[in-house]
Point group: C2
Chain length 336, copies 2
Amino acid sequence: MVARSSRVTIHDVARAAGVSVSTVSKALNDTGRMASETREKIKSIAADVGFRPNALARSLLFNRSFTVGLLTNDTYGRFTLPLMSGISEALVDHGVSVFLCAIEDDPELAKVHVDAMLDKQVDGIIATGKRIDRSLPVDLAGLPVPVVYAFTEGVPGSVVLTADDADGARLAVERLRKVGRRKIVHVTGPDSFVSAVERADAFRQAVGAGAVVMHGTWTEGWGHEAVALLWDDEKPTPDGIFCGNDQIARGVVDALRERGVRVPEDVSIVGFDNWEIFADQTRPALTTVDMNLKELGRTAGLTILDLAEGRSVEAGLRKLPCKLVVRQSCGGDREI
Amino acid sequence: MVARSSRVTIHDVARAAGVSVSTVSKALNDTGRMASETREKIKSIAADVGFRPNALARSLLFNRSFTVGLLTNDTYGRFTLPLMSGISEALVDHGVSVFLCAIEDDPELAKVHVDAMLDKQVDGIIATGKRIDRSLPVDLAGLPVPVVYAFTEGVPGSVVLTADDADGARLAVERLRKVGRRKIVHVTGPDSFVSAVERADAFRQAVGAGAVVMHGTWTEGWGHEAVALLWDDEKPTPDGIFCGNDQIARGVVDALRERGVRVPEDVSIVGFDNWEIFADQTRPALTTVDMNLKELGRTAGLTILDLAEGRSVEAGLRKLPCKLVVRQSCGGDREI
DNA sequence: AAATGATGAGAAAACGTTTTCTCACGTTGA
DNA sequence: TCAACGTGAGAAAACGTTTTCTCATCATTT
């Protein structure tokens, strides 16, 4: 009405084939009764003129937009991009596209984005954050579409996906044990983070009596500081350090090198996150726990699809397993 | 037809108000002739029942989906996320949402995503990559919608946006000069990158005769190596180093510290990228060139909007200015 | 008092699909 | 020869909007 599309519509195909639009539709969708020559002829003509059905029209009809919204509060993209990649990968086969909205902790902005997505009739919304113990600054309860939470707190009765922190900690300790380490400490982030606590608890359980956990910040600086605390002390120094993230691990490795302590010969280090930009560039490269973010994204995508298509999904917190990526900082990468 | 929407439509509002749908539409859009009491009454009823127009239906009518596609080949998100944030910020006010598609260098996948976006009638596509001298593995010429390229090579006659590398280099040298540095070298990435070459050329021009440019890789390791080359040499050592990215800068700073060379007292360092995860965590924190990615994203968003709405835009390569972010690695942060 | 004009509101068409319903035609069987 | 049936294809409605057109109704002017 306002503008005229230059795109080829089903009417153009019908005209070119000398049949009605209904016949074209049935021919292309392999539905209805029809002489098979007619069907083939129409298909070939449609291909010739480059017809592609207008998804908007179908959406209107089916009340399904084949679109989901990804709401993220993780400005930096550390989590969002791998997650996004997994979601997209899982959904592209189903013809579903993803709206990405960065809300930058702004409730107003979040509301605007959510409204825009609802207006565009998204089939579902995936909400992601940085922490499982913080919720987004917008209420997603009672929306007319399903919602899946990933790495952020969900409302009661919702589906929440996260990495299994305890599993990650166990993998790390297991590895350190395997390379013969016996005096292992855990240097991690603040105990105000649920994931830091869960990893710490699993660490304590795996290590047993005398387990040492040092809470600090998620920074390289804290890695340095922790090494200073451990080595300047009178007590015997550890031979294995499990770090709460790769930045801390980087700090620890650097601090040890400065002290002339060799990694991995004297001390084995395991990081957490497999943030390649850190893990790969640290010398030696970090053996680290990977949270399988892409797989988590894939799961989130498939889950939202299940919900959108009316299949029931078990509510509650679902923790997905981690995996260990072996590089050099832990040692034993050849002999095991 | 297939499923029945539980959402409230304009018909529901019409019924509730005891008027026709046309009247409701006109009332809500402030068009048509109508008693102002009627208009207000309808507006209030619409608000009461929570009516929000179905964007799909409008899109179908206007042949405008208020949606753009962002095609990215930058898996890691270093460029994509800030860009995305800027695009989104610029477009959200216009009611435009963004489809994000990560194509991971796969031509097949790219084609699938582009087709999906076209089917969904995007108003335009923004294509982004990592390098201005490489094109995406998919041909975006001749599409029925406008395309804007950012940080990737465009087809002839297209609109291409990128950061002004030469400007960035000039800002860096200017700063180093201002803090009194006279013997400045440039340690950067491979000369197979156009942006490395452009920065190097601008660097040479700014520094004048005797300018030293060292090409290597974009890694911390090269930063270390370059310092070794410079300091192990017989020649006098530089008092200022402009690095091609923050990772190299990080390597340089660390290597200098290991040699007992003080930064910024003895040598001033300027990085490039303002990748906060590096720039902020380096000790001392890096003074570095910021490519204004968010602003670039904003420009890309507004440009695609102009194109989508039929306003003409000058084709060709458009270089946006950089800015210098001052931290501690260059010195002079107080006295200037 | 009749013709003109202004005002308010509804009917219908349009956007591009899919699906249900209807119908004409030709074939088969009695 | 006629009824019953199967087959192929089109007409129309529907999805939720917006917009153009038409038409009452009522007030104003001659």
